[in-house]
Amino acid sequence: MIDLFFNTLVSKALLAGFGLALTTGPLGCFLVWRRMAFFGDALAHSSLLGIALGILLHIDMNIGIVAVCLLCATILAKTHSRQHLTADAWLGIISYSALALGFLALSKSGSNADLESYLFGDILTLRLRDIYWIYGCAVLVGLFFIWKWRELLLLTLDEELAQTAGVSVGFVRATFMIILAFTVAIALKAVGALLMPALLIMPAATAGRFARSPEKMALIAMGSAFLGISIGLLAAISFNTPSGATIVVSCLILFLGSIAWRGN
């Protein structure tokens, strides 16, 4: 009986992890290629405010997260052209303001929200509904990449070059932000607002050492993310450690392994 329970729990978490890896792998590659690692960080932190918004307004938490992420992305896009403060400073301001505001709102929301699971995640507590969200998002991201892959790569190389080649830069960039916001929402419960950027960046960084083409890098990043999640998950159960942190450490070990294998 316990075995059966255990098996469903683990297989559900693995199923979720696979769906997450499908999404975070390629998306993480674009964050790395476009030097947007800290942008992902800021959006992930802002998701805490989204959760609070969801609770306070009695709307779905994922919708709240997507809304706040898009709001932050818009603010960052607007502040990008301001010259008196550089982009990284703006990222820091948005990132920690959203985190602090979210924390405040959550503490006043009256709900007995489990703050630790929002900050650090727990993939073992995912319910079936969360898995539907994860796979819904994976399909969305997959379709977007199939549809706009070439445009995205051109944009990544050089925005003006892409524009002269007929890419509608504004549209592709905005759509990218939307799918990033959805990814942040689905990954939140698994690895939490503070650790989620690691799940985007680390598998992509690991994949970068093996790939000869952007497509291969995205595929290897998917595999690396799934491997990291699976190993972390099983290790968390075996050693009774927090699953979010264990997953990130297992992604780190894969990354360090890639350095050791391929050299610096």
Partner: protein
């Protein structure tokens, strides 16, 4: 045949600044004729790149009118491609990304363009290992891939050594002769430009002087900008063909 590819008619570009408005381009007019090589020269901050981007429709004009011949195909080579070393991409892949459709013809077109610029040996190289001069050739091949009516090259000589610069200019002139396309390029080195260009436009926010290189090089305003130490506060004389208001 002799209709201009692009006409800039009294265009202005202004950007808002905390202290008011900064004028980047002031009342610039020029016509780009087919089959000609036009070079924009001017000091840093003269608005050369801005003018180029206006002509590429990347930046809107604040005043004035820009007319492009309908169906104009432009091959653009940016000043510097800031390629992230984590993006694994070969020369061949970069070139195939530049074309809208994936056809069987594209492979031979890529080969031809790479051969034309003398970079065929680099076809399978990763972008991150290319030198400055090699990268410029690859980007030139990429710009040629769409069989452009106009090649727009923003400081093509950046990161290229002196010997390579002369070769690159000869290559650009050869491409123009073979293909009959126009070339618009930005440069701030002068002597090499002079020989290859049909028309030089000396820009310092406004057009100081323009015309055939031999004419521009003796123009007082050109002399003032490039021969004497740079000082420019509308105290210069303008030679014939240059109108101020």
């Amino acid at each position: 045949m002799n209709t201009p590819l692009i006409i800039a008619d009294h265009i202005w570009v202004q950007v808002p600044t905390p202290g008011g408005v900064k004028v980047i381009l002031e009342d610039v007019s020029l016509s780009l004729m087919p089959g000609k090589i036009m070079t924009l020269i001017g000091p840093n901050g003269a608005g050369k790149t801005t003018l180029l981007k206006v002509m590429l429709n990347l930046i809107p004009v604040s005043r004035g009118k820009l007319t492009r011949k309908s169906g104009l195909k432009i091959g653009y080579m940016p000043q510097k491609l800031d390629i992230n070393p984590t993006l694994p991409m070969t020369v061949e892949r970069l070139l195939s990304l530049g074309t809208p459709e994936r056809t069987s013809k594209i492979q031979s077109q890529i080969d031809n363009c790479l051969k034309e610029v003398g970079a065929f040996a680099l076809k399978h190289s990763r972008l991150t290992v290319l030198s400055g001069g090699e990268m410029q050739r690859v980007m030139l091949a990429r710009a040629l891939l769409i069989s452009p009516d106009l090649l727009v090259l923003d400081e093509p000589m950046q990161g290229v050594d002196v010997l390579g610069q002369e070769e690159l200019y000869q290559l650009i002139a050869k491409i123009r002769d073979n293909r009959g396309c126009s070339v618009l390029l930005v440069s701030h080195d002068l002597h090499l430009v002079m020989a290859a260009s049909d028309e030089v436009v000396c820009l310092n926010t406004h057009v100081c002087c323009s015309g055939h290189p031999s004419k521009v090089s003796v123009d007082p305003s050109y002399q003032k900008l490039f021969v004497a130490p740079y000082k420019h506060d509308h105290d210069h004389l303008h030679a014939g063909g240059c109108v101020h208001d």
